[in-house]
Amino acid sequence: MLIRSEQVDTLSNYMLRSFVDRMAEYIRSRFVRQTANVSDDELRETIQRGIKRADSYGVTDEADVKRYLEYVASYGDDFDSSEWAAPVLAQSALGTAKMNDLDAANICRLSGGG
């Protein structure tokens, strides 16, 4: 069977939309307080922006992107420019390694009482 490039794009867009839908549902259920005053459209836009930002940092695996979006939900859309997260995200490590380092940096930050 031959699959044309347009068909691939269509499929990709569908998969991406599906992922955004699943993430919206997941974030709203897990981060109830943080999303209480956020509309569905706003939440989907935030997730789409988060996916693009994650990609720019080399975080592309679904599981890793999900973790990145949890940080967005926890600390805001612009957490990636914060003093503790920015250096980690700027490192050359990719994907899972980078997200693990981000978890470590978050613990370091919280352990100081901040």
Binding site: M15, F19, R30, D61, A63, A93, L94, G95, A97, G113
Partner: protein, 539 residues
């Protein structure tokens, strides 16, 4: 891949507080650092124990817009060590490596070999030298070992204080395929030729393709507890995903082990007087190598072992005082070196027996050679003056019985003996006591390096430190009859007999021809072509 356990978001504030409390005894409340893996593990365990939820995450190899998970190809991980940086070596005030690479300087050295007895003219020959003891240098770099710089073909040395552990950090370059895959680095080991170059560390770090820095290595053993030069290599291995990989060998790592941090300075604010002021000497590898080799295996008990060794090395090289060779401020140049070297350069030339100098110059040279391996005790360029055994009570000149620390005085440190001899017709109001060396040349004093104000090092001769508290006793021991065979701290044979012929003279060189009323017969000295009315201390 193996699962990774993390805290579920959003984090539980109460569990966070409990986890912080759990690590507080170690941290004192400060934030954890990224390299504190064990403490972070403890924090996570406490978080979970306090009811904080955790989850295991696994990458599936599928991007959000991919229709299915990527076809799996076998994971492959290769790794190689790319840098080694020493963290416990000596740095300069600017944070750069203290040890520098010397840049050689072409000089001409006029080596004095003697004096024409009939004319008094100097006999010398000129030698061309590429001196590596000058102040010019280029920087050695960090990392000391860097694959990008050629690795072992351009490994840079370090200087390091003795009896300490060596600390390093390294960088490992990983290549993990397929793209996006990772592994877990759990152990890194550097097997060195000796414990002080052996390192080991357990960790848990997820690694993908790219460079990973591993810090916090502390050597398995300490450096030797003495000054020495070491050279060794390190074979590194890394355990990734449970598999131990050979990641390369680094070295040779050259370590100049010093007593303490190298330092040292010397200036001449007034001609023929030296003070440890001014700019620090440049710690070039060649200068440091000189002193470390000279003081090899010393410094175990105390730093004076190092001082002795530097002194002995200068004796072995034949360093001795040469009259009319000295460093003075511009425009004078009596160093015998062209172009005129800096004072530090000149002193190091004297240390290496390339240059020549009068006694106070080679004494200063010895001081800078000691300082560069970290000898801290006070050095002073000083003088041992001869003293007579008789009082100036004309015409009897009775034995004075002058003592210091219970010892009859034959010499004093930094106190010159002079007398008013105008009681004798035609004699001066100020005559100084001098002594004749073995060739019949007159000397006013013997220049020494005084260590801690008491131990007197007469370069080319011996160490005079019989007394640990009275430098005058030690100066006396220079002027009395003593064993002149090889070795150091040779025994005193007779404290009541002098070693040298003594002479009184005035500052203008006029020699006293009647030092005491009963002494009027001159003695000729063929080597110097001179004659003096001399006497011995005991006369």
């Amino acid at each position: 891949m193996s699962g990774y356990v993390r805290a579920v978001h959003p984090l539980d504030p109460d569990a966070v507080a409990a986890a912080n409390a759990a690590v507080a005894p170690e941290t004192g409340g400060r934030p954890l650092r990224m390299d504190e893996y064990e403490l972070r593990k403890k924090w996570m365990a406490a978080y979970e124990a306090a009811g904080g939820k955790v989850e295991t995450v696994e990458s599936r190899g599928k991007a959000p817009d991919e229709p299915c998970e990527s076809c799996k190809t076998p994971k492959s991980i290769t790794a190689k060590i790319v840098t080694v940086t020493f963290l416990s070596d000596h740095l300069d005030a600017g944070g750069k490596k203290l040890i520098k690479r010397a840049v050689s300087e072409p000089i001409k050295v006029k080596v004095k070999t003697g004096v024409d007895a009939s004319t008094g003219a100097e006999i010398s020959n000129v030698v061309d030298v590429d001196s590596v003891y000058g102040d010019k240098f280029t920087e050695f770099k960090k990392p000391e070992w860097d694959e990008a710089r050629g690795g072992s073909s351009d490994s840079h040395p370090i200087s390091h204080t003795k009896d300490q552990n060596v600390r390093v950090k390294i960088q490992i370059e990983f290549t993990v395929t397929p793209k996006g895959e990772t592994g877990v680095l759990t152990h890194v080991k550097g097997d060195g030729t000796d414990p002080y170059l052996t390192f080991e560390q357990s960790l848990s770090k997820t690694v993908g393709t790219g460079r990973v820095e591993v810090t916090g290595f502390v050597s398995a053993g300490k450096l030797p507890n003495f000054v020495t030069r070491l050279e060794g290599s390190i074979q590194w291995t890394a355990e990734v995903d449970g598999e131990t990989k050979d990641i390369g060998t680094t070295g040779s790592h050259v370590i100049y082990v010093t007593f303490l941090k190298p330092f040292g300075k010397m200036a001449s604010p007034v001609n023929n007087a030296f003070q440890e002021t001014g700019a620090d000497q440049v710690v070039t590898e060649d200068r440091l190598k000189y002193s470390v080799n000279a003081a090899d295996s010393t410094g175990v008990t105390d730093e004076q072992e190092c001082v002795d060794a530097i002194f002995v090395n200068m004796m072995k090289l034949g360093v001795n005082y040469i009259l009319s060779r000295r460093w003075e401020n511009a425009p004078l140049n009596n160093t015998g070196v062209l172009p005129k070297p800096s004072l530090h350069h000149y002193l190091w030339l004297c240390d290496a027996a390339i240059g020549q100098g009068e006694c106070h110059n080679i004494a200063a040279a010895m001081a800078v050679a000691c300082r560069i391996i970290g000898v801290q005790g006070a050095f002073e360029v000083g003088y041992m003056y001869p003293w007579p055994s008789r009082s100036e009570n004309h015409p009897t000149y009775s034995k004075s019985g002058l003592t210091t620390s219970g010892q009859l005085v034959a010499g004093k440190y930094n106190v010159r003996y002079s007398r008013d001899h105008s009681v004798e017709t035609g004699h001066g109001t100020q005559e100084f006591l001098g002594f004749l060396d073995g060739r019949g040349f007159g000397n006013n004093f013997e220049g020494v390096v005084a260590y801690k104000g008491v131990a007197l090092y007469a370069i080319g001769d011996d160490i005079f430190d019989t007394s640990t508290s009275d430098a005058n006793v030690n100066a006396t021991s220079y002027y009395v009859k003593r064993d002149l065979s090889a070795g150091i701290r040779r025994p005193i044979l007779d404290w009541d007999k002098g070693l040298f012929d003594l002479v009184f003279w005035q500052n203008d060189g006029t020699v006293c021809d009647k030092p005491y009323p009963w002494l009027t017969t001159p003695t000729s000295y063929p080597n110097s072509g001179r004659s003096y009315v001399k006497f011995r201390w005991e006369d």
